[in-house]
């Protein structure tokens, strides 16, 4: 479970995140939705501990991301936006590197890597060096290495960016599998339809603030819009008007 409590983060004069709070429970998919530059990535980067919030706090399964960041990192698998691979290593080696770093026992590394490779259907190119991989292949390998240590909480920053229809579909299947396994999945997107198709809860962020945090039906109800896209626009305007 991921709990975020009114975090703030500024970069110089830009106040990117202004008091974002939400909860992403286990066994559910939580979508972080918002226009470009709304503060989604900054929020997620605080959660996977590469940024420290100026104010507020966040916990991963009870571990604070600032005061106990190592424990918090142990419980998450993160796919940062535009994550890069090591071009001179094969897909399998890329994944194995993360498995070892995450503390998977030496004897189990090969099995664990093999099973995640099977799960993500990347056997075909698993032993090729990742130099020259397509965006879809790269995303799958990045995801495999984020999940190789079997984390309870999965944070995905714009995972479907640059993916074709088939790759998006298989990613969606995987996210649903994680949910069925009782995992907490938090992912960000700026595409309404994608979030609507997957998420149980949606947290719409605009201008660094939470505009609305509810289930899909709840959002429809509160904005008075039946069409999701209209609801999205209406929700963003709630913040913009302030």
């Amino acid at each position: 479970m991921i709990a975020v409590d009114s975090i703030h983060k500024s970069f110089g004069k830009v106040h990117a995140v202004r008091g974002v709070s939400f909860t992403a429970p286990d066994g559910k998919i939580t979508g972080l939705l918002g226009p470009n530059g709304a503060g989604k990535s900054t929020t997620l980067r605080v959660l996977y501990t590469v940024l420290k919030p100026d104010r507020g706090s966040a916990e991963i399964d009870g571990s604070d991301v600032v005061t106990d960041s190592l424990a918090a990192r142990q419980k998450i698998g993160a796919l940062p936006h535009g994550a890069g691979l090591y071009p001179h290593l094969s897909a399998r080696e890329n994944v194995a590197y993360y498995a070892k770093l995450c503390g998977v026992d030496n004897g189990e590394v090969d099995d664990r890597v093999a099973s995640i490779i099977r799960l993500l259907e990347i056997e075909e190119f698993a032993d090729r060096r990742t130099k020259g991989f397509s965006q879809g292949q790269r995303t799958k390998v990045s995801l495999a290495r984020a999940l190789v240590h079997d984390p309870q909480n999965v944070i995905l920053d714009e995972p479907t960016n640059g993916l074709d229809v088939m790759a998006t579909r298989s990613l969606r299947h995987l996210i649903l599998k994680l949910k069925d396994a009782g995992r907490c999945v938090l992912f960000s997107s700026h595409v309404m339809q994608e979030v609507a198709a997957l998420c149980d809860d949606i947290c719409i962020i605009a201008n660094g603030q939470v505009a609305i945090d509810d289930s899909i039906d709840g959002i429809r109800e509160r904005t008075g819009q039946d069409d999701l896209e209209e609801a999205f626009v209406a929700a963003i305007q709630l913040v913009g008007d302030e």
Binding site: V50, A71, R73, P80, A83, H88, L89, C102, S142, H149
Partner: protein, 392 residues
């Protein structure tokens, strides 16, 4: 510890597969030095042989007016060739560089000599032409020697001891040992060792820091449950291994080159046997740590591969500057110098090659201060990686 080793082995494998890193570590550094060195040594051997043994051509106008002088010059290994047609031609030939030097013997040379009037000869040369200057100097000294000889003969003919003309006898004694003479030129070697060492790890230092950031693999790495101190230590260690390998190769290739160089012809016998190779490696090992930590630290501050490359080329030159200054000023080793990394290793290395007794205190201070600075730089790297601002 496991994180450290995992990162270490991954960086080694990753970079062994990178042709650019490998080329700079195994070829550029280790080969560039010895090749340049062999070239310079060959050049100076050629020069040295030139000066001593080879004959020079001297164009002379009016050879027939001074047959004895001509014979004297020939005895000093100077080949007399026909000069330009007249005096104006001689000046022109020297000015245009057709001849470096031209000797003109006037018609009345023999007459003046017989009348004991200072007999006039003209030597055309171009002082602005350094190569020609050398030839002119040789011709001039031959003429002086002839002058001296004639003067001596005249005095003896009049019953005066020609030794009166030599109140002082200057005897120059060169006390430099053959190994010592080598040190001048071989002092260059430590410059190449340090260069090769730094070059060997440069691309790895960039790839593991700025490269990692540029390709977007740093952020997922930092989100893993690892202590960042171990992460950066593993990277520095991998850089150390590449630097040490490059250093070793550089030492070995110099060893081979020196074996095949005719250094005795320059009066040099450098003390560079396998024992010295091993000792030099150990001596420079603390500097490997310093180089790896320094390059990693500098590259960590940069945002891209290109930026890191720019800054690291500065780092590449910096440690060679004290070596250069000391070589130019020919300073002797002193305790204060031993606190300066690269300089201390250079001075001790020169002593090793000169086969002079080594000062244990100097070696201890050199290793100690270099390791202390390396430790401080490593600590700064760890601090830097613990800061979030790293990702900017």
């Amino acid at each position: 510890m496991r994180t450290l080793l995992t990162v270490f082995f991954k960086e080694i494998i990753d970079n062994i597969r990178d042709r650019r890193t490998l080329a700079s570590a195994l070829i550029m550094g280790p080969i560039f030095g010895p090749v340049l060195f062999a070239f310079v040594i060959n050049l100076s051997i050629d020069r040295a042989l030139d000066d001593a043994e080879s004959s020079m051509d001297l164009p002379v106008i009016g050879q027939e007016h001074a047959p004895n002088l001509i014979r004297f010059l020939q005895s000093r290994n100077i080949d007399i060739i026909d000069g330009p047609a007249d005096v104006d031609g001689a000046a022109e030939a020297v000015r245009t560089g057709a001849h470096d030097v031209v000797l003109v013997i006037p018609e009345n040379f023999g007459e003046q000599l017989a009348d004991t009037i200072p007999a006039r000869v003209e030597l055309f040369s171009d002082e602005a032409n350094s190569q020609g200057e050398k030839e002119a100097r040789r011709a001039r000294s031959a003429l002086y020697a002839y002058n001296q000889q004639l003067a001596g003969m005249r005095l003896s003919a009049r019953g005066v001891n020609p030794m009166l003309l030599r109140p002082i006898n200057i005897d120059e004694i060169d006390v430099s040992t053959p190994s010592g003479r080598s040190a001048m030129l071989l002092g260059m070697m430590s410059y190449f060792f340090i260069f090769a060492l730094l070059m060997g790890g440069m691309y790895l230092a960039i790839d593991t820091t700025a490269g990692e950031r540029e390709r977007g693999s740093l952020e997922p790495l930092l989100s893993l449950p690892i202590t960042r101190g171990q992460l950066i230590l593993g990277k520095i260690m991998a850089t150390c291994v590449f630097m040490a390998a490059s250093l070793m190769l550089s030492l070995l290739s110099f060893y081979v080159v020196l074996k095949f160089m005719p250094l005795e012809q320059l009066g040099m016998t450098p003390n560079f046997d396998p024992g010295v190779v091993a000792a030099a490696f150990l001596l420079l090992l603390p500097f490997v740590l310093l180089g790896a930590a320094l390059m990693t630290l500098v590259a960590s501050f940069t945002k891209s591969y290109k930026e890191a490359q720019t800054w690291l080329s500065v780092v590449l030159v910096a440690p060679t500057l004290p070596v250069l200054v000391v070589s130019i000023l020919t300073l002797r080793p002193q305790l204060e110098f031993m606190f300066v990394p690269s300089l201390s290793q250079h001075l001790i290395l020169v002593d090793m090659i000169k086969n002079e007794p080594l000062n244990g205190l100097f070696i201890a201070v050199s290793a100690g201060s270099t390791l202390a600075i390396a430790g401080a730089l490593t600590w700064l790297c760890v601090r830097l990686y613990r800061r979030e601002g790293l990702l900017g």
